[in-house]
Amino acid sequence: VRGYLDPVKRRSGTVLVAVVVAVAVLVAGAFVAVSAVQGDSSTKARPTSPTSAQKSLFAGIQQHGIVLGSPNAPVTLVEFADLQCPYCGEFARNALPQIVQDYVRSGRVKVAFQGLAFLGPQSQTALRAVLAAGGQNRAWDLLDGLYARQGAENSGWVTQKLLREVGGAAPGLNVTQMLRQSDSTSVTRQLRDAERSASQAGVDGTPTFFVGRSGGPLQRVALTTLTAAALRPALDAALQG
């Protein structure tokens, strides 16, 4: 009868509750710790397969060199980025897929990648491979694959093995040709052009974005968060302008 439980049962009930509370607090603490570590780590590879991500993200979308999307898209988005920059990786993993799905796939926006290599030699190695893949119109597949497996800055993560693996997952990309072309004068010229463009545009960090009507002046976009939602207003405004 409620309220008249014998003292032994009452005591075992109290112990049970204490154990449950302790376990619950420990489990919740573990959840919070894992979530916090995930949130803080911006250099870890994303858990999903880069191969499947590449296929689904860019399938059926035109690529011309470093530009993703229809050449006739009314609006252009330019991103200055370093392949070793954790925030660039965060944007590529978390925001770009939505931008591609909502704006690029429909032919309304094209995205131009302006690669910089200011974080160290590994940035340049990765960027040269991307630009060389651009010679085969597969730069964005390589970009996506490299960001998916981005490591800590200059930790040695940009290996030939990695480039071969990521390149091998890019549909239609001749990896041997890409690696051969990565040291070409054409790629070097593109590197210099991007550096010059960044200097002229006053780019002082990455990622930095510019948006505007294609062929017209582009406006710098200050993002409060590296999300598609943060970029939407600028893209929508340019599309209406």
């Binding site: 009452r10 509750v17 376990v23 607090v25 919740a28 978390n94 409060t224 999300t227 943060a230």
Partner: protein, 135 residues
């Protein structure tokens, strides 16, 4: 509050939470964005905090609310205490997620906040049942 009232509250809260969490789970797997009064939902849903070791938090919520809904039909003390333990884990983690939205992401997802509030209601009801079950 009687045990019957606590059970009803638990069932109602868990059912409402299950509905919201299921909706967010479906949206997550479809790769879309929840219908939202602000753009906070997209920011929260696409953040690194929206999944735990690759498992969408919305799916964890669906599972938790589902189990708690089932537990409202059970009367054995061990089941009641177990459900309260699960509800305690949920409400502590929900509190952390509210902190993440307000402080870390500076974006509020109305569906997530509604789910977090329901978690608090459900946890209170679950622990009221413990009080009844053990006295």
């Amino acid at each position: 509050l009687s045990d019957r009232a606590a059970r009803s509250l638990l069932a109602a809260g868990a059912l409402a939470g299950l509905t919201i969490a299921s909706y967010l789970t479906i949206v997550h797997f479809q790769g879309g964005v929840p219908v939202c009064a602000t753009n906070g939902c997209e920011i929260v849903q696409q953040s690194r905090y929206a999944a735990l070791v690759g498992v969408p938090v919305a799916l964890l919520g669906t599972f938790t609310f589902g189990v708690l809904l089932l537990s409202s039909a059970l009367r054995k003390p061990i089941a009641v205490v177990g459900a309260a333990g699960l509800a305690l884990v949920a409400v502590l983690f929900a509190g952390y997620l509210v902190y993440v939205q307000l402080v870390v992401l500076d974006a509020v997802c109305m569906w997530c906040v509604a789910s977090d509030a329901l978690t608090a209601v459900v946890a209170a009801a679950a622990w009221l049942r413990v009080r009844h079950a053990l006295t």
